[in-house]
Symmetry: C2
Subunit: 323 residues, 2 copies
């Protein structure tokens, strides 16, 4: 049996510019029980592959990074394996409150929704906030109403309950739901052939959350950040730490102000600063040259990347990775 390192990160270097790159995550956490559930593991790996394929096909054909991020995350929101959209975990009272955000590196423009309860694709609601409102962050019933006014697909709150049941059925061992407890956020960062970076994140938030808690996923600078000058970042983990440490923007600040590389910056924030503070989680990111980083300080992180026609997906640390 291979050993699983508790902290791990890696970088794929890219020499060419004017190409595309895509990186995704499906949450980080203590998912060690997955190791003994081949069926569940296969389902997650297949879902990550499919998500990458969707974004890749858009980027390969010269599509915009915004479109690639939206399509990739919409797929993950519809897949009940992940704690986002359909698969969102329940609050303490059994309801579902979803958060999402988007940011474009070319314009430093951003949009986000927090605590939406009737929107099928929160990532699209976040894009609508960015493109068709003067605001960055809308929450609760106001965000629902705005999404509806923009013609987005609305669902009955029960839609998310059905997903929960399905998720439990899908796993032979019944362990999928607990695995993604608290940390099943999804995220995607893309670089298109025009050199533009977009980052997006979507989540059902913390399982059993109360009092309309908002995590880092809809907070620009915490869960999501993008700037063509530096990088695009999407985070997953214990959201309160990611807010307090402005994790996504901090990676960009280190690159800009210390001239550090993407990987050095990301690893410093996740493996040093955040770990020291007791904050569990990880991030995926890329820079304008297509360098990709995936860094996490938990047992595992659902993740994958695509570039130069090559795709790879991973769940655990170095021990189970294929380079």
């Amino acid at each position: 049996m291979l050993l699983c390192s508790l902290t791990f990160s890696f970088v794929i270097f890219q020499e060419h510019t004017n190409n595309y790159a895509l990186v995704i995550h499906g949450g980080a956490g203590n998912m060690s029980r997955l190791k003994h559930d081949t069926l569940a593991m296969k389902a997650y790996r297949a879902a990550l592959e499919e998500a990458l394929e969707i974004g890749e096909s858009i980027l390969k054909n010269g599509g915009k990074s915004l479109k690639a991020v939206e399509a990739t995350i919409r797929y993950m929101e519809d897949n009940p394996l992940f704690n986002a959209g359909k698969g969102a975990v329940a609050t303490a009272t059994g309801t579902h409150e979803l958060d999402a955000s988007i940011m474009q590196g070319a314009t430093i423009n951003a949009g986000a929704v927090g605590g939406v309860t009737r929107v099928r694709h929160p990532i699209t609601a976040a894009i609508e906030v960015m493109n068709n409102s003067p605001h960055v962050l809308l929450v609760g019933e106001g965000a629902n109403a705005f999404a509806e006014s923009r013609g987005l697909e609305m669902v009955d709150p029960d839609y998310f309950n059905v997903a929960k049941k399905k998720r439990n059925e899908k796993s032979g061992s019944g362990i999928i739901a607990p695995i993604i407890d608290k940390m099943g956020t999804v995220g995607c960062v893309a670089l298109d052939k025009m050199g533009n970076i977009t980052a997006g994140t979507s989540t059902g938030g913390m399982s059993g959350k109360k009092w309309n808690r908002i995590g880092d996923s809809p907070i620009i600078g915490a869960g999501t950040y993008a700037n063509n000058k530096t990088c695009g970042i999407s985070c997953t983990g214990h959201g309160e730490f990611f807010i307090r440490y402005a994790v996504a923007y901090d990676v960009s600040a280190l690159m800009e102000y210390r001239q550090w590389s993407l990987s050095k910056s990301a690893n410093f924030v996740i493996q040093e600063k955040l770990k020291k503070a007791g904050g569990n989680g990880g991030l995926v990111g890329l820079d304008a040259k297509g360098n990709i980083v995936m860094s996490f300080n938990t047992a595992g992180m659902f993740r994958g990347y695509s570039k130069n026609g090559h795709r790879e997906t991973f769940v655990f640390g170095k021990g189970t990775m294929k380079f």
Copy 2:
């Protein structure tokens, strides 16, 4: 008549450590009509003086920066001249949704509430979130319920309507309410004799806001940030820009990663980055040595500081300032 510069910032240098310092703002904006309303001007200056006196008396007697920030902001929340607490501006539908946040530089701990409608002192609700919940940000009815469960003073939503009427009566010329339109947020940053920095911000948000819009005030890293290693910052202005540019944390990042001074960092963010992006507003801040900065790129900003037993308050730029 003195000229009023559209952009201005200044710094008071402090040689001593182990002392206290306090800096406040009551919003930034185009408040040029105030120049011809002596009555209103006097009322604002008196309110700023009183706010400073409250925080100063706590710090002078060895009290904690958290207590000083809370007491100072509670006073400003109760004063209908400011767009916070009682004086909060109305949403598009005539309701009042209040935001506030707090952060402590010693622990990098933080708390915030967004869109509360029944809490008399949102700053105290933010402190309760920080100290007595596992979360950083609660919004809407959940945040109301949490505040109530902590025994905070709850008010009828009409409390804020009454304040609006009173505010209009108070001004001889009736121009006070429009002056603080959009940009009357209040904020306070304090350094206590133990060397600990606390920053807090409270607001009624953007006048006429829709869809449960959340601005930068309850967003840690955007409207508020504190770190004993660098600085404490409270912002005011067009919140969407402050979120996209992670303004409060950016000042700290420049100090930490570029070894810039507080004033150089703050001025770069407000006068260069934000101005270039078209973002109007300003900030107040201080570092662990008691250096104070107040920087804004609008016509004026209600502001003041206290240190070494000396208090000063200002509304417009250099032209009307007394050093």
